[in-house]
């Protein structure tokens, strides 16, 4: 197949193959993306751009390629969510508190990527501390969705929390990006930007060096334009890591190798509880179409039940803030990050540094978390939520006795307008209705672009798999991708001065 003339139109796989046969240099690849990022600043996808670093890393890659020592991702420019600590490169977590924080160490996932030869383009925008579903809680302003509704010039959210990563991949500012997913933060923005987002099984990618939000739910994963690219990137990101006690020591299969195996005989479960009242009809219609696509490729469709689904969001909004309030206790204004200039004593220093450094959504979650963990309320809230979590995990285990993967929508709606849901936290939280249950159960899931809404905005379908069975998730995701043949692209309005 002929390659596109503009290197930013390459898929990750195409770029890799072109580099290997020396059809393009790493330098050219990096330079074209640096240029695209500069032209795409209107999208506010990056908090920190690292063009000089990208070009010198690309030169080093070209040297290796010349010596015949190219590694798996040699010379491939990537965007990294600004939640991964990068040595010597500012890492803000989208927060004023960490506005000037420069890590002295590298997260395991990003170290894996650099060891595979990948090139850092910059750090992408996100909801503050990954808390949000629209990227609007970022201290650095919201990232903007490259997509606009048909006939409209209004800015839309890219979803969140990995909104900058999703926007940068959708707008071809990066070949691919990393994200993290605590309640949907990879899959929901992927669905809203017409890109592919994979949340691996809890324990598949190391959490070491990723700014913690809710430690029993956080998981890093790839955000790409194709399912094959997600397979390639996951292979490089995943590893067992002794530095993360919840990292699981199981072999990482070659995900790319099994991608085209097809879904003949695969049992695909349709969880009936995912039909939510008031969901737009086009979401249901796309879901039905997805089942038809898989069926026509030889899969068996079975209806399954996940009876506790409707309680997942409420359990999540107890567990996640509880863990967040505990994790964010480390921000004391003394050792790193913001320190107030208006404090008399130590207590005031803590209280004012935190009040100045944290935005409204983060404060709200710290307050909820502190409340549900406080004396007298622990049993009623946190303990009960952890029990509901057991029930949700059992639901999935039961369903997986009848099927190999589940098919569900990724989001209850397409991308929405800036400011549309910020006034009512609960309406914002409802965005994660289809994504949160997997995090509670630790399971892998992928969102694949599958169609357009009536307004011409991308919609995603989600494949959910058994623990550590990302290979089957990717294979089924690939089958959706083939059938959907999603070729729509946003118009490049952001390039107009």
């Amino acid at each position: 197949m002929a390659l596109p003339s503009d290197p930013t139109r390459f898929t990750l796989a195409e770029a890799r193959d072109a580099i290997r046969r020396k059809a393009i240099s790493a330098r050219e690849l990096a330079a074209s993306h640096v240029e695209a990022i500069t032209v795409g600043r209107r999208l506010n996808a990056f908090i920190t751009e690292t063009p000089d670093h990208a070009l010198s890393a690309a030169d080093a890659s070209d040297d290796r390629i010349a010596r015949g020592e190219a590694r798996a991702l040699e010379g491939l420019p990537l965007a990294i969510k600004d939640l991964f600590c990068t040595k010597g490169v500012r890492t803000t977590a989208g927060s004023r508190f960490l506005e000037n924080f420069i890590p002295t160490y590298e997260s395991t996932v990003t170290r894996n990527l650099w060891n595979a030869g990948a090139v850092l383009l910059g750090k992408t925008n996100l909801d503050e501390f990954a808390m949000g579903s629209s990227n609007e809680s970022s201290y650095f302003g919201p990232a903007i969705n490259p997509w606009r509704a048909r006939g409209s010039n209004n800015d839309l959210v890219p979803g969140g929390s990995s909104g900058g990563s999703a926007a940068s991949v959708a707008a071809h500012l990066a070949l691919a990006a990393t994200g993290t997913d605590t309640g949907g933060s990879i899959r929901q923005p992927a669905a809203m930007t017409g890109t592919v987002g994979l949340k691996p099984t809890y324990g598949r990618c190391s959490r070491w060096g990723i700014v913690a939000y809710a430690s029993s739910l956080d998981q890093a994963g790839p955000m790409t334009r194709t399912v094959k690219d997600a397979a390639i990137l996951l292979n490089a990101m995943a590893s067992y890591d002794a530095m993360d006690s919840t990292s699981v020591d199981v072999p990482v299969p070659d995900y790319e190798a099994g991608l085209e195996a097809g879904v003949k005989g695969l049992r695909v479960g349709i969880p009936k509880e995912y039909r939510v009242d008031g969901a737009p009809r086009e979401i249901d219609a796309l879901w039905a179409k997805g089942a038809e696509w898989l069926k026509s490729q030889g899969a068996d469709i079975v209806e399954v039940s996940l009876p506790h689904t409707k309680h997942a969001l409420a359990a999540y909004y107890i567990v996640a803030p509880a863990e967040a309030s505990s994790n964010l206790a480390r921000y004391d204004g003394l050792r790193y990050g913001r320190r107030t200039e208006h404090a008399g004593d130590l207590l005031e220093l803590y209280e004012r540094s935190r009040a100045e450094g944290f935005g409204r959504e983060v404060l709200r979650r710290i307050m909820i978390g502190t409340y549900v963990l406080s004396a007298g309320y622990y049993d009623a809230y946190y303990l009960r939520a952890q029990k509901v979590r057991t029930l949700i995990a059992r639901d999935f285990a039961q369903a997986f006795t009848q099927c190999d993967v589940l098919l569900a929508p990724a989001t209850p709606c397409a991308a929405f307008g800036l400011g549309e849901k910020t006034a009512d936290p609960v309406s914002m939280y409802l965005n994660d209705v289809f994504t949160v249950p997997l995090n509670l159960a630790g399971l892998p899931g992928i969102s694949v672009p599958a169609g357009l809404s009536g307004d011409g905005l991308p919609l995603g379908l989600q494949i959910i798999g058994k623990a550590f069975d990302e290979a089957t998730v990717l294979k089924a995701g690939r089958a959706i991708e083939v059938a959907a043949d999603f070729t729509a692209k946003p118009q490049a309005w952001w390039r107009t001065p």
Binding site: I102, T104, Y105, T201, Y202, G203, S216, A242, S245, T246, V248, D249, H311, A314, Y317, I318, D332, L334, R335, Y336, G337, R338, R339, A343, G344, D345, L346, L347, E348, L349, E351, R354, A355, L363, R364, I366, M367, I368, T370, Y371, S374, Y377, A380, Y381, L383, R384, A385, Q386, K387, V388, R389, T390, L391, A393, P425, V426, A441, G442, A467, F468
Partner: protein, 95 residues
Amino acid sequence: MSVDKDTVRRIAKLARVAMDDAQVAEMEAELNAVLAWVEQLSVVDCENVPPMTSVVEQRLTTREDAVTDGGYADDLMKNAPQSEGHFFVVPKVVE
């Protein structure tokens, strides 16, 4: 269950966050909206259900009890807003 302004102030104290009266009032309304919503969990039958303590089935790994890392005092101080040598400077605590 719902919270009043005094509870919000107590929680803010526990969370070490300074909050003025206007913020307390806002937070009271927001917390109550979220708490009313999560209240739905009280209808779930959790009798004899153990709380989840481990997300995926795994045995925590152990290692030899030995010093395997360290010696980063300079690195640790690099992001300190105020420091002297290898010490973090804090407001006077003991008179």
